[in-house]
Symmetry: C2
Subunit: 213 residues, 2 copies
């Protein structure tokens, strides 16, 4: 199984690295980080860069494509080279997937038309602009398209993908190898569960960021 | 708050990127990736490199130091330059932390003597070699030393650290911002919970890797 993870300037690192760590743990599966041009891509915080070893031109037939999100995904919504590549590889993929606002990029490529899909909770409603039906679930599978919610959800999504492709035993082995037995210290990981003032605080911080030039 | 995350050839990416994503989300906190020499460090799968912007010489007084694990942490156990740096920065840190087999590196630096600590479940007993008391908990806090279990546990560890330093409201805000509401598809993330044959399978794969030159 060949997996292409698209990265770009301003991505959110965990969106990509969470599912990478799951998918690369399956014996025989090969993950490649691809970008418009090969090289180091600075993540949204500015503190870390991830290296894409390949340009998208070198990844024309992945079995799985994965688009992470982050503020840097916004310019991709109008990047015809990236959108053309996504449309082209989607014709041959077994799974076309996204984490966080990566789903908006799939939408901009026309790949979510009429499909149930999810995104980061702050951006969920924007899926309607692309003809998708926003769905408040952590992992949404509609046909061969799998979208997942904000940032950390890609780990859960990738485990589901492994279970479907390689079987539940392999998926459980990967889960154990990465010791994924989560113990979040609070029950505040979704807007339905977090205190209302926390939801408003995160909304306010995000709105401030949106207003930056 | 200044945070230094040590990276190196052959690290496990999620060990570092999970807690990074939490810590970098706290307003005013600054994360730096540091290494023996600045530059790109290839992770254990070979498919990804993370860039360290700074050498350890440029990070002589972090408030928090974090050591991830992975096969590449093994040479660090005898790397006196790294161990000296850890001993030196530990004198001034508020928190000295590790994920996965990063705890063995803290141990080799002499920082776990007489302390309760954890590591990846496959390597947990090795902590005794460094005078530590192996503890099967996901996050172990003993004084200012926080060790966490395998790979994905760094997310939980970092949220606990944020709660202690910046308060529970901030930690809940970060958890919501990264939508950390985990839904693992199986209850197989620890050796106590996974089916016995899964535990044996992961042990066998790890043993094969150990035997490689």
């Amino acid at each position: 199984m060949q997996i292409a993870i698209l990265i770009f300037e301003g991505l959110t690192a965990l969106d990509a690295v969470g599912p990478y760590e799951v998918l690369r743990s399956v014996p025989g599966w090969e993950v490649r980080f691809v970008a418009s041009e090969a090289g180091a891509k600075r993540t949204d915080s500015g503190a870390l860069a991830l290296v894409a070893d390949h340009s998208i031109d070198e990844a024309d037939a992945p079995d799985v494509v994965l688009v992470p999100g982050g503020p840097g995904s916004r310019p991709l919504l109008e990047d015809e080279r990236i959108l053309d590549w996504l449309r082209a590889v989607d014709r041959g993929t077994r799974w076309t997937t996204s984490v966080c606002t990566g789903s908006l990029v799939l939408g901009a490529a026309g790949l979510l038309e009429g499909k149930r899909a999810t995104s980061h909770w702050l951006q969920l409603e924007r899926l309607r602009e692309y003809g998708a039906e926003p769905t408040s679930e952590r992992v949404v599978i509609d046909g061969k398209v799998i979208t997942s919610a904000g940032v950390s959800s890609g780990i859960d999504m990738a485990l589901q993908l492994v279970a479907r492709e390689a079987g539940e035993e392999v998926a459980q082995g990967v889960q154990l190898a990465i010791e994924y037995d989560p113990e979040p210290p609070f029950d505040a990981g979704s807007p339905d569960k977090a205190p209302e003032q926390t939801v408003e605080m995160v909304r306010a911080v995000a709105a401030t960021r949106e207003q930056r030039p």
